[in-house]
Subunit: 438 residues, 2 copies
């Protein structure tokens, strides 16, 4: 018999007295074994090319300390008090100035909602738009925690393939048409168009207007997630999708341009959507931290933040170059990768038949970690793919990590040639490290 919610707590299952009480959305909330491996990967002898931690050692910490001390001493009764659910008005003005660097000229501070990192903005947008069974379209591969958020609201995820110029417009149009013909028109197209996580690719300028037009014609809301846009290695920032379509909902973050520990991100949305997001934010967290918001606002107003961005860009470019050089130097033929123009990630494709997930324990034994591709797909794809991050280790460590990884892959190819493919096993639950791991 199915347990009923009014059964008394069941101590014959001592590990879970409330197992009969969970919501349907909680059924899929499982931690995978793959995830547990990443805890091991944080040991210092292991070169982790797995995590997505920015290298905030490059920040002037003494200046940040002085800024915060002054803020608390002089404006502590505001900074340490409750704030408004929509966020600090001064910070929302500054955020508009930041977005202007990506071509968003018409943003109004009143249409910005400050959130506890852009992850919360993603959560709030999903909460406001997605009923159980609704369809969300994403790139394939896509940001792993976005998949978790969509799953938490019981969305069905459909993928559109990427190539080296980003999502393929013809494929997007075909997926939207198919879903419409199946009677389940999607509500959202979630995209990381610039320096994508995990694939490192950027939607080309030629494709941007096409993507906007395709979604507009299909009545699909474009949800543009852009945490890496200002970490470009060449020229000027890419023009955001939102710059050319005010109906786009845009998500931004200070986690990569300043510091993730502050947990400050935002959404820019059409006014009526913003109103819903504010009410959803209030029931979710009451308000973002005024202290964190005023820290960011003061930083943007008083510190040379554009110079600091330049420091970050040069540091990450040097690390990307170290990774690419090492891939060229060490990797066997038949292994492919791309050249990201910014951000944190390179996407690596192994020869068909290799299984990056099955290989991970051996890699960790060889003191190198990466994220298997499977975590970035809602379906069973990505087995012979992996994400390599160059954001956190030093260039020397990156080179050593790639050398170790190449060795593991070579052995795997040899094994595969001798014994054929490894039997596949389905893994449930989040399959990438939390961002807190190096």
């Amino acid at each position: 018999m199915q347990p009923q919610p009014d059964d008394p707590p069941d101590h014959s299952h001592p590990r879970d007295p409330w197992r009969t009480h969970y919501a349907q959305r909680a059924q899929g909330m499982l931690a995978s074994e793959v995830r547990a491996l990443f805890a091991v990967a944080s040991r210092p002898e292991i070169v982790s090319l797995a995590g997505g931690m920015p290298n905030i050692a490059a920040l002037p910490l003494d200046d940040m300390a002085a800024l915060m001390s002054d803020l608390v001493a002089r404006r502590g009764t505001v900074a340490l008090q409750y704030g408004a659910a929509q966020g600090d008005a001064g910070l929302r003005e500054s955020i508009c100035a930041v977005m202007a660097r990506e071509g968003i000229a018409d943003a109004r501070a009143d249409d910005v909602v400050v959130t506890a990192g852009s992850q919360q903005a993603l959560d709030l947008v999903t909460r406001v738009f997605i009923d159980p069974g609704d369809t969300v379209v994403t790139e394939a591969p896509t940001y792993v925690t976005a998949l978790n958020t969509f799953a938490a609201f019981q969305a069905r995820v459909e993928h559109v393939p990427l190539d080296r110029e980003g999502v393929i417009p013809e494929a997007l149009a075909a997926v939207l048409a198919r879903l419409r013909s199946e009677g389940r028109p999607p509500k959202l197209f979630y995209t990381v168009p610039t320096f994508q996580n995990p694939a490192g690719v950027t939607l080309s300028p030629a494709r941007r207007q096409q993507v906007i037009d395709i979604c507009r014609r299909a009545g699909v809301l474009v949800l543009e997630d852009n945490p890496y846009g200002l970490l470009h290695f060449d020229g000027e920032p890419m023009r955001a999708l939102r710059a050319d379509d005010p109906d786009v909902v845009y998500l931004g973050s200070f986690s990569k341009t300043l510091a993730p520990g502050l947990r400050v991100g935002w959404a820019l949305a059409p006014t009526a959507v913003k109103d819903k997001l504010v009410l959803a934010a209030e029931s979710a967290v009451l308000s973002p931290s005024p202290l964190a918001q005023m820290t960011v606002e003061t930083y943007l107003r008083t510190q040379p933040w554009e110079d600091q961005l330049k420091v970050f860009r040069e540091m990450y470019r040097e690390r990307r170059d170290a990774l690419l050089d090492a891939l060229h130097q060490y990797m066997s033929p038949g292994i492919g990768w791309n050249t990201p123009g910014g951000g944190f990630f390179v996407w690596v494709t192994l020869p068909a038949g290799l299984d990056a997930q099955a290989m991970l324990p051996r890699a960790i034994g060889t003191r190198v970690a990466y994220v298997p591709g499977t975590g970035f797909y809602a379906d069973s794809n990505g087995r012979h793919e992996m994400r390599l991050s160059y954001c956190y280790p030093t260039p020397d460590r990156i080179r050593e990590g790639v050398r170790r990884l190449a060795e593991v892959i070579r052995e795997e190819i040899t094994l595969h040639e001798a014994f054929g493919p490894i039997p596949r096993r389905t893994v449930r639950g989040p399959q990438a490290p939390g961002p807190e791991l190096p």
Copy 2:
């Protein structure tokens, strides 16, 4: 015809291009006109007895500034980095020591989840347990933003009345039995047992075990929300419900004992529930702010926090006394109130026929604000009730506010005697100020 999700954005409704796309849960997300009044109430000439802001001017801000400066300068690469979704291990240990003051002797740091304020803990518990249509039982009246959270997850709320000793056990048993007989056994009983928001009452020791037993027999999870427990005006802290039942899910907060601007709260839950909460937290916000968590952990470890609690308790007791004295001095016969033993709030009952919501604009015109009782009920009750807060204004301002309020009520009684009851109007949306207003 019903708009379909695949309709293109509808600019004939220029205020909402995505109005056809919202989730069902977003339909009820409306800001009420009553809410808008509270923005006016924050003007300095108005004595606000409406908000729930703690008086953090009583904190040693220079010490807090020094603490944070040292933290960022010495441990900034950790404090400003991503953290674990469950929260900082050191802080979780400290939280267990804080809970021990309320009789919770068996809490393990591994069963604590740190959240962005206890509001987020409430949101996560609701997310993990509540499917649309599930029933949640609460006290009547109850915390307004809990009602918003339950509404955001499409729960049906059923109330159990309070008296001056807290929720009435016989009434609780009767409601649970009725709901079971109606085929909708509730999943949660949400309670603020100590210095309740909004009613200021405390569940008596004699009733505590009864409430636990009733819920246990009915298979209902007790969700104990306890932000005010350490702000008691006499004797020792009340023993938490969780102290006598490890299956209770307990929510705590540093917003009232330290500072709400840090946004640090927590949940203590049975291990299996905690596992679900951590996964839900990760998809909601990735992690709570390490900076905020390390600030709290350092504060608890290095500052005389128990002395500071005493400062808060004495200050709030003086303000409670000012409020009660003024009520005695100014209020007309037929008006009732209780004497809270701690916390921030007094609940006032007007003579039958008076309408506290209809009276609010006149009160604000007379430069005093309160929260009408209706906001704290999911049904249409509370018309002749109101919440008065004594946490934020000085004792002199409190007395002046009550004097003004008594004058408004006297006029209202005169009008009511002359013209009879005021026609009622239904108000949708949140009907209490956000906590950020004084």
